[in-house]
Every structure is written in C-alpha cells, then in structure tokens.
Symmetry: C2
Subunit: 279 residues, 2 copies
C-alpha cells in the first residue's frame, strides 16, 4: 500500500499542484435545485471532486459538516468515490480528534477502518500517548495542529514558555523529533500566519505542512508558498498542502446548475497562483 507521504509526493508531481480542496459541504449554500437539501451532500462533493481531482495534491473533507446533517454514510461514499476516480490523491479527514489512548484507538478505527482516510488531523493537546494509536496504522498520516488559522489560536499556541520557545514551536519540535519515529507525522499551520509558517518550516524541514486558510479566510497564497515551500516533496523537503474550502466550493460567479465548472475555474486559478509563487 502506498503511504500517505508517498501519495502526497506523487500527486504533487503528477498534478504539479500544492492545492488541497477542502470539502466543507453546507447545504444552505448549495446551488439550485439542491439548496438546503442535506441528502445531496454526496452529490455536491462528488461533483467538486470530479471537476478538480486532476488539479490537487489532496482532498480534505471536514467531518463536522457531515455529522451536523447525519450524513456519515455520505462521507463514507464520498471517500470511496475519491479513491476510485483519483487513486493517487490522498484524503485527509479533518477531524481534529484528541483523546486518551483507549478512546484514541476507537477514533483511529473510525478514521481509517470506517472512512478509509489516508491521514487525519489531530490535536496535540493531550500529548504523545494520544497520538500514538494513530501511528500504529502503517503508512497513515497524522497531521497535528500547531498554529491554527483563527485569531484565538494565539490564546494558548502563542504562549511563551519558560524555556523561551512559544508553545507552537515546542509542538513543531516534538513533531519533527521524538514524536515522528515512523515518519507519519505532519503539522497544521494556518495560511493567515505566514511568519509562523516560516518558523515551523525552519523547525520541521522534512514534515508535510497542511496550510488551511487561503481564500475566504484571507490567507495570502503567495506568502504561504514563500514561507513554507522548500522544493518538490522529497525525504529532505516536506510538501506543503495549501487548502482552500469555501472559495472553491461556493464560487461567487457560479451560475446555478454549473457549479462544478465554476469550482474548477477557482481551483485552477489557485493552483496557478501557488505554482507561480513557487517560481
């Protein structure tokens, strides 16, 4: 089985892309005639996947948007669909789980056995023994929150420790060092904080960085790439996975009934912008 890290490197090369499309389905924003219809979550997301899978390094479904609508079965079918139409593109389940070991084992079962994701986002707040159960799954990825894209992230993550480092710097050091014996760990840093991306990249040069927050959240694509990209994915330069959700899913110029080609146009523009910044 191809590992998450290998899939990332393969999709980056094959699609010449750093763009990850975030799948945050909100029925209230669906095009007509599906607007408000939660039974169309699969159809909507599969339409976006079909229109963009040759342009991306990864897809990132956000589980809350499915769970709020009792649409777990649609999430299962969606991940099967991605793996069928784009077998080389990894699926990162954005779940931000974080719990003690015995419970973490059940979450790992949910993420990898039930949903078949290739990687998952996790909170590091409960420490290494809350992460380790996910790493027992050979080749699967665990992306740890480090400096999140929201302003409130600073409340704890930017706290200065007595050692002199900031809390998010400590997380980056742990993730790049003792926590990553098996090479499955990556980090999440918001595109809204390019200086922090650069700092995390310095501390963790080889780790995949998932960078959400370009587009609607206001993160600057070019600044993100300059801060985080160090070369095509390899053993010594971790890939960056730059995620855009709402801007791709709900393009402002989408005509009703033609949403997926509008999504493709936005995704193509974002991919081009990211490629240009890479130089």
């Amino acid at each position: 089985m191809t590992s998450f890290v290998e899939m990332l490197a393969g999709a980056e090369r094959a699609h010449r892309s750093l763009l990850c499309v975030g799948l945050d389905p909100d029925p209230a924003r669906f095009p007509e005639p599906w607007r408000g219809d939660a039974t169309r979550i699969y159809d909507f997301c599969a339409g976006v996947v079909d229109a963009t899978h040759d342009l991306v390094i990864a897809f990132k479904p956000q589980i809350a948007f499915f769970a709020a609508h009792r649409a777990e079965d649609q999430l299962e079918r969606l991940i099967v669909h991605v793996h069928r139409v784009a077998p080389g593109v990894p699926v990162i389940l954005d779940a931000k789980r974080g719990d003690i070991g015995s419970t973490a084992e059940h979450y790992a079962r949910e993420v990898f056995d039930r949903y078949g994701a290739d990687a998952v986002t996790l909170s590091p707040f409960l420490g290494f023994d809350s992460i380790e159960p996910y790493l027992r799954r050979a080749g699967k990825g665990a992306l740890l929150l480090c400096r999140t894209s929201n302003p409130g992230g600073a409340d704890l993550q930017e706290q200065r420790l007595a050692s002199g480092e900031l809390l998010y710097e400590r997380i980056a050091r742990l993730a790049a060092g003792p926590w990553n014996a098996k090479g499955q760990v990556g980090l999440v840093v918001g595109a809204t904080y390019p200086a922090e991306i650069a700092r995390v990249r310095e501390l963790a040069p080889c780790l995949p960085l998932l960078i959400p927050g370009i587009g609607t959240q206001g993160g600057d694509a070019a600044a993100t790439v300059r801060a985080g990209w160090r070369g095509t994915a390899s053993k010594t330069s971790g890939p960056i996975i730059v995620s855009s959700s709402r801007a791709v899913l709900y393009p402002s110029n989408a005509g009703d009934g033609d949403f997926s080609s509008a999504s493709r146009r936005v995704a193509e523009a974002a991919r081009t912008e990211l490629a240009a910044a890479r130089g």
Copy 2:
C-alpha cells in the same frame, strides 16, 4: 428549559451523588449473547442507564465508541432514552471537539441539535473563538480539557509558561474568568492527578469540574473528592462530576445475562465511597 448547571445541582441533591457513569460501549466486552454485536450498543447502554440513573449526577457517553461502529443512530436513541427515564440527569457528550469558529458552529449543531446533549467536552487548544459558538446555546454546558487523566497530558499541559504559571493553570484562569461571561463553562481534570484537581479548584472555585479516571484508570475516589469538593453545588461552589466508565460497564463479577445488576452494584459502591469521602 433547565440549564446544565441547574440540572447538575438538582441531580446531585436528588441522588446524593457525585458519580457520573461514562458510557463507553465496547461490543467485544458485552455480556453474552450480545458479545461482539454492535447492533446491541443501544440495548447495552440503555440497560446500564436503567440500572443506575437514580444513583448518578450525570451520564457521559463517549462518541468515539459509537462512531467506530457506525452507531450514531444508537447514540441519538440513547440520549432520548436518558432524558425520558431520568429527565433531571444531564447528558455530557464526551467529544473533545476543537475547531475554528465556522466549523465549531457545525459541531455545536451536531452536539446540541442532533444529539440533544446538555453539555459537551471541548479542547481549548484553539482558543476562545473556538469555544464561543457552543456558548451561544443558552443553558448548555461546555467543559474544557484542562489537565487530562493520561500521562502524556503533561507533554503540553504541564509546560511552565514565562509568566510562571503552568499551561493548565492558565486554562483554568481563562475558564473561570474572561471565557465564562455566561456561566456555562466547566473544566475537565483527571482523577489520576489529585494535586492538579486541588490547584484547579483553587483557581476556579465556582466551576463544575468533570473528573474522569476513577476505577480502571486508577484514580482514587476519596483523594478526588478531598481535592475538588467544596460543598453541595451552589453559585459559589461548583459541583464535581466524578466519572467512571469501564469499572461500571464491565464489572469483573458480572454473570452473563445479569450485567446491569452487577453494574448497579459497582455504581452504588462508587457513589457510597464518594459520599463517604465528602464527609
């Protein structure tokens, strides 16, 4: 509608109990003839609820144990069942969610609208703006992880800040102060760390403390009560909610077919031990 905090105070008085039964259903440990049968999750948990609801201050289903088995529908029915047989007993959905504001709104919808929980456990790692969407639900409770029951909790939570305080102490101060304008916030502190419980109670005298980890995890019930209990729940003394899961669900002396009376015996013993420690 009765608020979470009022329900806690009511159940503590009515049942003379600090005991919370954690509902972590693991089909592999179910009694015969249900062993291994995930379609019996509801039946198993409802049996425990029926046998113990007059002995508890709260029930705490842990969502991973349902999600790992595609049993979200059984969790929905279970919470309806608790509210029907024990309308005064609050349900704390143990989900440890933590995400940015727009996603947090969807999680809040999942927890309160879909499942009808009275409170939820949350990770504070993303800061106040990740908590605030849950507080918009009048009367609902938000219990923030502070010092968790696992050894790895120390990796971040026990970090000394440049200000002199430990990270978990900062969380307790924020939770008791600026984050709690509406009186809906509580804290989670593991029974395995009684000194930390005492410290959190000092910093947050009026907040409900959810204390998991007595029983199988090894937390000492009497030490927990001495560290955290300051008097019957009132505006000036927050209740403690002492949670036991595996010891109650899977009592070692349970005869097959008689699991719920064995669970009741364990719950009664734990309640008595907690009451005795209260003096």
